[in-house]
């Protein structure tokens, strides 16, 4: 089966945010009014109801020149996805296209995926059932897998008017990205293809104008070895021995203690100017 990639060339993006509206429109997501963030950026990062966020970054480059950088940020659809590995319910899976999706019927809202995503693109949403009982579900970009099934492209790609986003065969898109980086290195000496190996490569591949850290992205994201251990060893054994509920508690312990994940990878300022 062909693996697909969403190609994002941030240097062609003009920050219009049509991708954000197209996503909400197709996926029927509600508006989520936010506080003023001190920049044009609307949301600090993706949330359960906002699956892609346009980042706006004022960056002074090595020469002291101001660069106004934009990035369409959403799920990377990793080839080795930490979220998939830590999910105790097998609610997260890879599709035949390479996208990573959450089965809402199986999701129990434990939040391990949220804590383990190296890009912090998954969020929990709280619901109440008709008896008033609260429950949670994890949400993120689906790469519009339902559209791909119908021969369409992701809604954000279809709406992008500058050609900053394209969707196609993985190899073709990666070649395109590599070629594009060469074209723009004159203006952006730090330009690079962001397709990190530590997660086996991704199905959202970026042409970045600057180093990943400028965008608040990890330079070398990895699937934590503990997550690998969890998925590939502990979970199957544990399930046999303890049953699912107890296992979820163990999972929380594993996540919090073993992964020791407290630092935030993404810029909390939500772009904007330095304060």
């Amino acid at each position: 089966m062909t693996k697909y990639v969403k190609y994002v060339d941030v240097t062609k993006c003009d920050g219009c945010r049509a991708c954000m509206v197209a996503c909400k429109n197709w996926n029927d997501l509600p508006a989520e009014p936010t506080e003023f963030l001190g920049s044009v950026q609307s949301h600090v990062k993706t949330t359960a109801d906002t699956w892609n966020v346009l980042q706006y970054i004022e960056h002074e480059n090595g020469k002291g020149d101001l660069e106004y950088l934009f990035r369409h940020s959403s799920c990377f659809h990793c080839t080795d996805a930490a979220c998939e590995k830590v999910c105790p319910e097998n609610a997260i899976s890879y599709t035949k296209y390479g996208s990573v999706v959450i089965d809402q019927d199986k999701c129990v809202g434990c939040g391990y995926c949220v804590q383990n995503c190296p890009f912090e693109v998954i969020s929990l949403k709280e619901y109440k059932d008709k008896n008033g009982k609260e429950y949670r579900k994890a949400h993120k970009c689906t790469m519009c897998t339902d559209r791909i099934d119908e021969g369409l492209q992701p809604a954000c790609v279809t709406t992008c008017h500058t050609g900053a986003m394209e969707f196609g065969n993985r190899e073709v898109m990666i070649q395109k990205a590599e070629k594009r980086v060469k074209e723009i290195q004159g203006r952006y000496p730090n330009a690079m293809v962001y397709n990190p190996e530590g997660v086996g490569g991704t199905h959202t591949v970026y042409v970045l104008a600057e180093k990943p850290s400028v965008y608040g992205l990890p330079e070398n994201p990895k699937v934590p070895t503990s997550a690998v251990a969890w998925k590939d060893y502990a979970q199957p054994i544990g399930k046999m021995m303890l049953g699912a509920t107890t296992m979820a508690l163990v999972g929380a312990f594993v996540t919090n203690k073993l992964f020791n994940k407290e630092g935030k990878g993404l810029d909390e300022n939500g772009g904007g100017s330095d304060e």
């Binding site: 062609k12 003009d14 920050g15 219009c16 945010r17 049509a18 954000m20 509206v21 909400k24 429109n25 509600p30 508006a31 989520e32 009014p33 936010t34 003023f36 963030l37 001190g38 920049s39 044009v40 609307s42 004022e58 002074e60 101001l66 660069e67 106004y68 950088l69 934009f70 008017h161 500058t162 050609g163 904007g272 100017s273 304060e275």
Partner: protein, 788 residues
């Protein structure tokens, strides 16, 4: 636009000034991105580093209100460095014309100025003519009174040092702009200038556009693919609205409206004699005027009654937005109809405009939502309903996808649209509202002998028998008929001045030349050559996509270059042929009289570097905005000497002592105009939900303001509250050695809808351009402080 959106891909350099298309006309970047891929450059000139600047190869800041120095300096640079397209200038402009003796320019004033009336006697700016009325020329361009030499002298004052001291642009940035854009003066290259309201909304707005056109003419950039002077219109159909005479001093198709103050306008004969030039395409004006009168008054327009000319209102005042609201404020108006307009957010000095509405007896608002304007009397507007006696009617209107009709875009393309869904509730299209109103008023006035009612009764209102007008009949009336045969007319070339033809808008005549052939409905997306897509919709006039395209060829009819070819003279066929409809009589050979005169709308067939037509001078000259923190460095005339100044309450003026900071307004991608449509959309309100003011880190530091603080912005007209957005993208200017700060803010916000906030136009002045009266929204003085 002289050119069109798709054509932007052909440019070698786009100079974007007074506009921010990446944010406000985003689709343009589909084509500008292609231009970049083809090796084209983008130059962004803006007071603030915008998302357009981020996409540009060169960025230069300028202080708001200094476009004329900026471009004047580029003209000087092009002349001094010999970068102009000389052959083009000598043949296709009036550079060689000799200006009559007596013309003078002294300390900011041209000859013929009357200080009491603040007007010029334009006859003092005349061109010398031979006995038979032809202009006297000096082909060598060396005569001291030639337009070329006068222009050269005028702009020699705009040297780089003076210019950058006024605009606040760093010299190296300025030189980079000059170098990059003036390189398009070379044959085989074309540069385009893209502009919008940042250019026009100034007391020198018309002259700002004029000076762009002058630079383009000097570089030989008009009439070529990838060239031109291109206004990006701010609304989907604002091109259509001006084409159809919605400006107060226009009939349709840019035919000037008759005035009671001009004695010759008392009769049709006098009007036509006065307003029709002897030569050039406008010599056909009587055909367009009479055909228009026939379209409006039908059988009631006869040779004996001057084709109904006396039914036309002949005003004796300036009926611009600014003056109407001033009159309203003084209680001179009883009522008003506001179709999709929201002056309580969008009007200059909006707080006073809101007060003015309260002096009306009645107000009819036709809109999609209750706006700040139809709700001006409510408590949330800061009004006391008990004190307001205005009776307000709110009629729900249909949105664009709920009705059939056309919109004309910036490319001059009239594109037909069909209804997608039914209107909700009682909402109706504007056309239906006007139709029913006209029928009811006609009924009401039946039998009346009052002279005021006569024009209304004389109107030929035949758009079918139902309550809803037959829109196809409206389309046909616009195109026009041969009244002898009753058939649709082929185009404006067939219009006559004897009452045997009709056309509701001559520039659109030809879009519907035969039954069943409404060209606005065409959707053939096959490229007919050079991305002109001649079979997609209809571009006025006569489906031409690039105006003045005769200028893409040299006087002998050969294209200046293969790269920028549009049309050429085919001697074998004895015809102008190419990838566009010739903007020229296609059978006139280059050697025939007028055969080398591309600017057919002008009397002498050439474009005007010296234009004795505008109210404020034949050459654009720099004057500071109504409110400015610095004295005019170019002369002792601080303010444009020809602007109308409304005195008193409505237009208080701030000084730099109390208001030292320059301010401007703009739009964001997510909101449209006064926000009445977009602030009622949740997904858009979510993305741009807060009223903010952008200011530099330096100014924030001086004022003790931190990012995200609430601040108060005040001007002589009012004060508002907003969030501070402290940004590296604004920097203080060095204006003549002094630090000048500028801030900017969106003007979309009001108290209705999902995204609410204070209205920027509470701060803006009530003064307009000397020619159009467009308000000076883009440069005024203010002060800021922390709110708590």
């Amino acid at each position: 636009m002289t050119n069109h959106w798709n054509d932007l891909q052909h440019t070698d350099c786009a100079l974007i000034i007074g506009a921010n298309p990446a944010e406000n006309h985003p689709i343009s970047f589909r084509w500008l991105t292609k231009a970049k891929e083809n090796g084209g450059k983008i130059v962004s000139v803006d007071p603030r580093y915008t998302r357009t600047s981020a996409q540009a190869d060169v960025y230069a800041p300028l202080r708001s209100g200094t476009d004329i120095p900026f471009i004047g300096g580029m003209i000087n640079y092009a002349l001094e460095n010999n970068l102009i397209h000389k052959e083009y200038v000598a043949n296709y402009t009036n550079a060689a014309f000799i200006v009559k003796e007596g013309f003078d320019f002294n300390d900011g004033l041209f000859s013929g100025y009357d200080e009491d009336t603040r007007t010029y006697d334009k006859t003092k700016w005349a061109i010398e003519t031979t006995e038979d009325g032809k202009p006297v020329k000096d082909a060598t361009l060396t005569h001291p009174r030639s337009v070329f030499q006068l222009m050269k002298k005028h702009y020699s004052r705009y040297d780089i040092k003076t210019v950058t001291a006024v605009t606040g642009t760093p010299k190296e940035d300025y030189l980079k702009v000059c170098e990059t854009f003036c390189a398009t003066g070379k044959v085989g290259k074309a540069g385009t200038i893209l502009y919008a309201m940042g250019t026009t909304q100034h007391t020198v707005g018309s002259q700002n556009v004029r000076i762009y056109a002058m630079l383009q003419l000097l570089l030989g950039n008009i009439g070529l693919p990838g060239g031109g002077i291109n206004a990006m219109r701010g609304e989907s159909n604002v091109q259509g609205s001006t084409d159809f005479g919605l400006l107060f001093d226009n009939l349709t198709g840019y035919l000037g409206a008759p005035k009671a103050t001009v004695p010759e306008h008392a009769t049709l004969k006098g009007f036509l004699e006065k307003e029709t030039p002897v030569t050039g395409y406008w010599s056909n004006k009587p055909k367009f005027v009479v055909s228009l009168l026939k379209a409006w008054y039908g059988k009631n327009a006869t040779k004996d009654n001057e084709f109904g000319y006396q039914f036309l209102p002949k005003g004796n005042k300036n009926y611009s937005h600014i003056n109407l609201f001033n009159a309203m404020y003084k209680g001179e108006l009883d009522g008003t109809f506001l179709f999709g307009t929201n002056p309580v957010v969008g009007g200059p000095n909006a707080g006073k405009e809101k007060e003015a509405l309260g002096k009306l007896k009645w107000l009819v608002a036709i809109d999609l939502w209750e706006t700040e304007t139809s709700a001006f009397w409510q408590k949330e507007a800061g009004s006391n309903p008990a004190e307001i006696n205005t009776e307000v009617f709110l009629l729900p209107a249909s949105a664009s996808f709920e009705k059939e009709g056309s919109v004309s875009n910036s490319s001059r393309w009239m594109q037909y649209r069909w209804k997608a869904i039914d209107s909700r509730g009682e909402a109706r299209p504007d056309l239906d509202v006007i139709h029913e109103l006209a029928l009811k008023l006609k009924k009401l006035y039946t039998g009346s002998t009052k002279s005021a009612d006569k024009p209304f009764l004389a109107l030929d209102w035949n758009y079918g028998s139902g309550d809803e007008p037959d829109i196809d009949l409206v389309c046909k009336e616009i195109n026009g008929y041969d009244l002898k045969t009753g058939k649709l007319i082929a185009g404006f070339g067939a219009l006559l001045d004897d009452g045997t033809t009709s056309s509701g808008n001559w520039i659109y005549s030809g879009f519907y030349p035969e039954e069943g052939k409404n060209f606005a409905k065409r959707r053939d997306n096959k490229d007919t050559g050079n991305a002109n897509y001649l079979n997609w919709s209809f571009a006025w006039p006569a489906n031409r996509r690039i105006l003045y395209n005769r200028a893409s060829a040299d006087p002998s009819g050969r294209p200046w270059s293969k790269e920028k070819e549009v049309i050429h003279w085919d001697a074998a066929q004895k015809l102008w042929v190419g990838n566009d409809v010739p903007d020229f009589k296609p059978i006139v050979s280059p050697t025939e009289p007028g055969g080398a005169n591309p600017f057919i709308m002008n009397k002498d067939g050439v474009s005007l570097l010296f234009a004795p037509t505008l109210n404020d001078g034949p050459f654009p000259e720099h004057y500071e905005p109504f409110e400015s923190p610095v004295p005019n460095a170019f002369s002792n005339q601080q303010l444009n000497p020809a602007v109308v100044i409304i005195e008193g309450d409505f237009n208080k003026k701030g000084t730099k002592k109390n208001f030292p900071i320059v301010a401007t307004t703009y739009r964001v991608s997510e909101h449209w105009q006064s926000g009445s449509m977009t602030r009622n959309q949740e997904w858009l309100s979510e993305l741009a939900g807060h009223m903010f003011v952008e200011l530099s880190e330096e100014l924030a530091k001086e004022k003790g303001i931190k990012n995200k603080d609430k601040i108060i912005i005040s001007s002589a007209r009012g004060k508002i509250k907003a969030y501070a957005m402290v940004t590296k993208r604004f920097k203080p200017y060095n204006v003549n050695g002094k630090k000048v700060h500028q801030i900017g803010m969106p003007w979309h916000f009001g108290f209705k809808g999902f995204a609410t906030g204070d209205t920027a136009n509470r701060l803006t002045p009530h003064i307009g351009d000397a020619n159009t009266m467009i308000p000076e929204y883009k440069a005024f003085l203010c002060d800021i402080r922390r709110a708590d």
